[in-house]
């Protein structure tokens, strides 16, 4: 496999911690509860990043460490666990770590075990911002679920799709597999705790999300299953490779070239717009590699693809397809701004923290964060995927250029009341 050259910087970029993945996981696993052992900071983070302000009865909460709790190295959370069971009746409780108890050296495995029962297991999920970024803790949640996937006998040769996708996407993948004659054992995670798929030596694990390498590796090591190594199923190119490689695992040679061509044809208006456009990835979701690969296939010029981490084995096929693209791990934000000023990209995919300010500097930028929960997988997701990139470009092109005059930014921000520009 080709070894793409990557640059590694100091990691001084804007992002969130692993707790944020609770936002989609608690909705995916409908009978779950997510309990964070943390501080006021964790609660304020969840409140402000999860759009919480609109949920009246969330199935996540913080077991709040206050000053008096700091002296005890093993806090007692049994009262909160009982409160959760009483109020929410979950089938499973995930106990997430955070920075403060990590610094306090709380022994989480033991803490979870002390409140876990066979009826309502309490599972430890490492998610602290000291070690995990944004989407990575989904990997931790899925690892915690592995012991609850029943073992499958070696002759059970079926696929398990790996990664949380909504029910509509899951249906798409089940139907597509049936159409190709690929037997499906299920999804990890499933929508309910007791619906986890059986996994054994005959299982082919097909990752749908690019941030799940720990779970994939553990399944390979513990259950002896095969992990599909292919492109991730985003865009006509990725989807075709994904299904062809998956079918090959079941001894079938499938040619989806017509299907791919038809999919490209359907989005021609959009790829025409993207062709030759300079795109800069400054986001932090770990979805950057497959997204950049798709844009490259659309004919765009990816001037930089920054991403928190690259796993050479798990991302091997994507890295090969990204040959020639400047790849940066653990980017430095100040350096990115200088590169953006030099290369003048047409579109920047960034964290929600930096998107509005980047637009304020006169470039077109869009949220990268939403790729974690946009339905962009498989054939059905192609249109949502491509329009996610062209929508901002087309909308900005439609707006009256008069509004781009920096005068309209004057006084919008007390710390920057005057006119500003990227070069200043």
């Amino acid at each position: 496999m080709h070894k793409a050259s990557t640059i590694r910087e100091d990691g001084l970029y804007h992002s969130f911690c692993g707790l944020v993945s609770v936002g989609w996981l608690y909705q995916k696993i409908k009978d779950s509860f997510f309990l964070i052992l943390g501080t006021h900071t964790c609660a304020h983070l969840l409140q402000n990043t999860l759009g919480v302000m609109i949920f009246a009865r969330p199935r996540f909460a913080v077991s709040l460490l206050e000053e008096a709790d700091l002296s005890s190295s093993q806090p007692d959370i049994s009262a909160q666990i009982e409160e959760i069971k009483r109020e929410h009746h979950p089938s499973v409780i995930f106990l997430l770590s955070s920075c403060t108890p990590e610094v306090m050296k709380v022994e989480f495995e033991g803490l979870a075990a002390s409140v876990s029962t066979p009826e309502v297991p309490v599972l430890f999920v490492p998610a602290s911002g000291l070690d995990y970024t944004f989407s990575q803790s989904e990997d931790s949640v899925l690892q915690a679920l592995i012991p609850f996937c029943p073992p499958a006998p070696p002759e059970d040769k079926r696929v398990v799709f790996l990664g949380s996708v909504n029910d509509a996407i899951a249906d798409d993948f089940s139907l597509e597999a049936a159409r190709l004659g690929i037997p499906v054992a299920g999804f990890l995670p499933a929508s309910h705790f007791h619906e986890l798929p059986p996994i054994g030596p005959g299982t082919v694990v097909a990752p749908l999300q690019p941030y799940l390498h720990k779970t994939a590796t553990q399944l390979r090591n513990e259950r002896g299953c095969t992990v599909l190594s292919s492109l991730f199923p985003f865009g006509p190119d990725g989807t075709r490779r994904f299904w062809e490689d998956l079918a090959a695992q079941f001894g079938m040679k499938v040619d989806l070239s017509d299907r791919e061509a038809a999919a490209w044809e359907r989005i021609k208006r959009h790829t025409d717009l993207l062709r030759g456009k300079k795109i800069f990835f400054a986001s932090d979701t770990l979805m950057e590699l497959p997204l950049a690969r798709f844009l490259k296939a659309c004919g765009a010029e990816v001037v930089e693809c920054s991403t928190p981490y690259i796993n050479r084995r798990f991302h091997a096929a994507e890295l090969a397809a990204l040959d020639g693209v400047r790849l940066v791990e653990q980017a430095n934000f100040h350096r990115q701004l200088r590169t953006i000023a030099e290369t003048k990209p047409d579109l920047i995919i960034s964290n929600i923290i930096t998107t509005n300010p980047l637009v304020g500097q006169g470039v077109v930028a869009k949220w990268g964060t939403e790729y974690c929960f946009l339905p962009i997988h498989g054939w059905a997701g192609v249109n949502a995927l491509v329009t996610s990139f062209t929508r901002a470009l087309e909308r900005h092109a439609k707006l009256d250029p008069l509004g781009s005059d920096p005068i309209w930014l004057t006084g919008m921000m007390p710390s920057s009341p005057g006119v500003i520009s990227l070069q200043s």
């Binding site: 900071t41 409140q47 402000n48 077991s63 909504n166 974690c372 946009l374």
Partner: protein
């Protein structure tokens, strides 16, 4: 330890960020794990900042801890190189403060040209409000210098800050009134102020600090240290605004400036009308029904006091109760609301406030974003009068809470939030007033929002987006999921007999939830386990509805 869902106040480092992002050429650096950077998103999203918020996280990772490395000096150098600040405020986070590192020494290692201040904000002892107020006071103490007064009478305005509740609008309202009085502004801080502006604070003749949460201590310091008198009242409502102007003129007169009072019409937007329509509106027959609409008010100290008094004194509404989450201002609030509220609720636990609202079932709830949740759950009218806010509270149009203009804004909000008088008579007389719709089918159990991925693309209005990104005007204002049943305020919940249920169905749908709640409350009080038609009739008679 306790189970926490929502927090009223942000963290200490958020308070520090609010001061840094209010001032020009001041930058906050958080010595913190990556996740603590989320506070940046609040500014970029809610304030829609066209520049990067003035704060940077100097990332602390697990690897750094294992190796004993500290990246703070390098981060400080990078920040100085990019934004050239006059001052950098360094603050630890809830996790890094436990490491007991010497950040002073680490900061000195950076060898910066600009001033660096390591601010000791213990996140276990202070939250957003105290952290912001203490930092701002420290900055004023550090930079304000003795100097002669300005030649003409001028005033400072202290308190408006980034992410402050309607702060920009309040500032416009204050400036408009000062302009009408012919008084110039010396310095506004922290909003838009530089360090040099802080130095000039003692040159003013008077300091205006309307908020109990921010600016109060700095104003008091300027009075004690430099003899600049302080006007600490909040002009919320018409009468308080008149008294505020009077007090302003008195204090300036004592300082030797005679400020003539212009005709009141000079304060209006067109310069020739009454400056507020509230006194007349409150006297119209339309408003008589408001004497039967009890209100519950909860929020920060400034707004709870101002709004409670406004509702009773200027609109003639009864006060069902009030409370605040700003515990260190509770005594002041209690004192200010003596005669208005008997048992002030002081708590920062949203479940406690929700329980009080469920018990009172007021006609109007004035609260924060959390009370909006609670009100949706119990089908009550709610308006937001205090932070924490949602992006829906960050509107573009001029909507001050202070001054004459503010009185009109608040009165409009009260009027449009409540169920109206004539409408209510028609409902009472004809049942549905021709407005009824088939009863909505309620979900059998606690409804959960659809998976996020669906929520984004689906046109269904009940789907709720997951991440804050989605809570922007791009997404339609989400409809709260209908609560399956209100959480019981007491252990026993009465059940509805079929005959009573049938009668309830004849109540118009948009007040049905409230009637249901009121009757259940009545039944609980009377110890009825079953609500029969007889109980319902008795309740109607008792409650007059």
């Amino acid at each position: 330890m306790r189970l926490a869902y929502w927090m009223y106040e942000g963290t200490a480092h958020h308070g520090v960020g609010r001061i840094a992002n209010s001032m020009r050429n001041v930058h906050a650096v958080f010595h913190a794990p990556q996740g603590d950077d989320y506070v940046n998103a609040i500014f970029a999203m809610l304030d829609r900042t066209p520049n990067f918020p003035a704060m940077t996280t100097s990332v602390v990772s697990g690897t750094d801890l294992a190796r004993g490395t500290i990246r703070l000096p390098e981060t400080l150098k990078q920040v100085e190189e990019r934004v050239h600040p006059d001052l950098i405020v360094v603050v630890a986070s809830c996790s890094t403060i436990l490491l007991q590192e010497n950040l002073e020494i680490a900061a000195q290692h950076a060898g910066l040209q600009c001033e660096v201040m390591v601010y000791d904000a213990n996140p276990y002892r202070m939250q957003e409000i105290v952290a912001a107020e203490s930092l701002f006071t420290d900055l004023v103490k550090r930079f304000a210098k003795p100097q002669p007064r300005t030649e003409r009478p001028t005033v400072n305005i202290l308190g408006p800050a980034s992410l402050g509740f309607h702060a920009r609008h309040d500032l416009i309202s204050l400036r408009r009134m000062l302009k009408t009085l012919g008084i110039e502004v010396n310095v506004v801080a922290p909003w838009g102020a530089t360090i040099a502006d802080l130095r000039r604070l003692p040159a003013a003749w008077l300091t205006i600090a309307p908020y109990r949460e921010l600016g109060l201590r700095a104003a008091t310091y300027l009075e004690e240290q430099f003899g600049v008198p302080a006007l600490l009242d909040a002009p919320i409502g018409v009468q308080p605004t008149l008294r505020w102007i009077e007090r302003l003129r008195e204090l300036l007169a004592q300082a030797g400036a005679n400020i003539p009072m212009p005709p009141l019409t000079a304060f209006s937007l067109d310069g020739m009308s009454a400056p507020s329509a509230v006194p007349w509106m409150a006297r119209t027959a339309d408003m008589d029904s408001f004497s039967g609409k009890p209100a519950f008010v909860f929020g920060d100290a400034t707004h709870v006091v101002g709004i409670t008094r406004f509702l009773r004194d200027e609109l003639g509404m009864p006060i069902a109760g009030a409370g605040t989450y700003v515990k260190h201002q509770a005594n002041w609030v209690r004192e200010q609301l003596a005669g208005y509220v008997d048992d002030l609720l002081v708590t920062d636990e949203f479940q406690t406030v929700a329980a009080r609202i469920a018990e009172l079932r007021p006609e109007l709830v004035c609260g924060t974003q959390m009370e909006r949740h609670t009100s949706r759950r119990y089908d009550l009218n709610c308006m937001v009068i205090s932070p924490p806010t949602h992006i829906e509270n960050h509107l573009l149009a001029y909507r001050p809470f202070l001054g004459f203009d503010g009185a009109d804004v608040i009165a409009d909000e009260v009027y449009t939030t409540c169920t109206l008088g004539m409408e209510k008579h028609l409902i009472d007389l004809f049942g549905d007033a021709g407005l009824d719709l088939p009863e909505k089918v309620k979900a059998p159990s606690t409804p959960e929002p659809a998976p996020a991925a669906i929520a984004i693309e689906s046109p269904k209005p009940a789907d709720e987006p997951v991440v804050a990104v989605a809570a922007t005007p791009a997404a339609p204002a989400p409809v709260a999921p209908p609560a399956a049943s209100p959480a019981p305020a007491t252990p026993v919940d009465p059940v509805w007999a079929a005959d009573a249920e049938a009668m309830l169905k004849k109540v118009p749908f948009f007040v049905r939830g409230r009637v249901r709640g009121n009757v259940e409350k009545y039944a609980r009080q009377r110890g009825h386990a079953v609500i029969t038609a007889q109980v319902l009739l008795a309740a109607k008679e008792e409650l007059g509805a």
